[in-house]
């Protein structure tokens, strides 16, 4: 199986040798599609299956490639190389390559520091157990709405802090009870570390994690929120 790691423009020539999955050679495949070159590993999978080590190795391969070429579109894991599909999507892929050229992705995760169940519940004198339960449920729901509003504020604040460096962004508001927002930010590679440092700040109700810079995984897909 020829597993696809990334798509680049034909001028991509890494200065150093790169390894593919499982230490196998990383193949530079000159596909019959103008303007595109693909990078893949030919993995014998008759008996073995892909596992967690392969997933992280896929990230290693793409990161190494991304560090040495200007425009790199990561492939979702696992994706098998299919030239027909490349041909059909050539225009979209070329657009996406230009969108991510010279840019990297930062992942910002804002985690609530107080669990929702610890928020104070309403107290009503003389309330029965059933009423107290319903009030508690209502408080949880109201809290949830309030948290969604707060999560949007946090997202707006993060994007404001990045300012003119922000080329694009995607946000997931309250994707779980613990997480206020998960943001993907597309920023210039040359400024990515500085932006990352600028986002490391405390807030009273969330702690903010910043990961990356990573290859632009979130911004490689086309037709979703673009």
């Amino acid at each position: 199986v020829r597993l696809l790691h990334a798509i680049t423009t034909p001028d991509a020539r890494p200065a150093t040798d790169l390894h593919g999955l499982r230490g196998l050679p990383l193949e530079r495949v000159e596909v019959d599609v103008p303007g595109l070159v693909v990078w893949a590993t030919n993995v014998p999978l008759e008996k073995e299956r892909l596992g967690r080590a392969d997933l992280l190795d896929h990230h290693r391969v793409i990161s190494a490639l991304h560090a040495q070429v200007a425009a790199c579109l990561p492939a979702r894991f696992p994706t098998e190389l299919a030239e027909d599909a490349l041909r059909q999507k050539r225009a979209e892929l070329a657009d996406a390559l230009e969108r991510v050229r010279g840019r990297a992705e930062l992942a910002v995760t804002a985690v609530w520091t107080m669990p929702v169940e610890d928020e104070p519940a309403a107290e009503v004198e003389g309330a029965t157990a059933g009423t107290r339960y319903l009030l508690q449920r209502r408080m949880v729901l109201v809290g949830s709405n309030s948290r969604r509003g707060r999560a949007r504020e946090i997202s707006d604040e993060v994007e404001r802090l990045v300012g003119g460096q922000l080329a694009d962004s995607r946000r997931q508001i309250c994707p779980s009870r613990e997480v206020a927002v998960s943001l993907a930010l597309l920023v210039p590679r040359t400024d990515a570390e500085a932006v990352k440092m600028s986002l490391r700040r405390a807030a009273p109700d969330v702690r903010i994690l910043v990961n990356g810079p990573w290859p632009p995984y979130t911004f490689a897909a086309f037709g979703r929120g673009t």
């Binding site: 597993l3 979702r76 098998e80 995760t109 990961n211 979130t218």
Partner: protein, 68 residues
Amino acid sequence: MNLSAPRDDELSLLELADRLLNRGVVLTGEATISVAGVDLIYLGLNVVLTAIENLQPKSAPAPRDHHA
């Protein structure tokens, strides 16, 4: 699976795994990897990694759905 107090390193790995499994270029239709229609990222690290243990690319260029 304990989701009550995710550590920072677990969250970082979840964010990365979400990107590797759910984002990026898709060539052969909408390949979705899901558990009962719920995004993997916030189901917990063990579920993510258990799910990918069972992945095996299909030879036919058809949409893929993987359910744990």
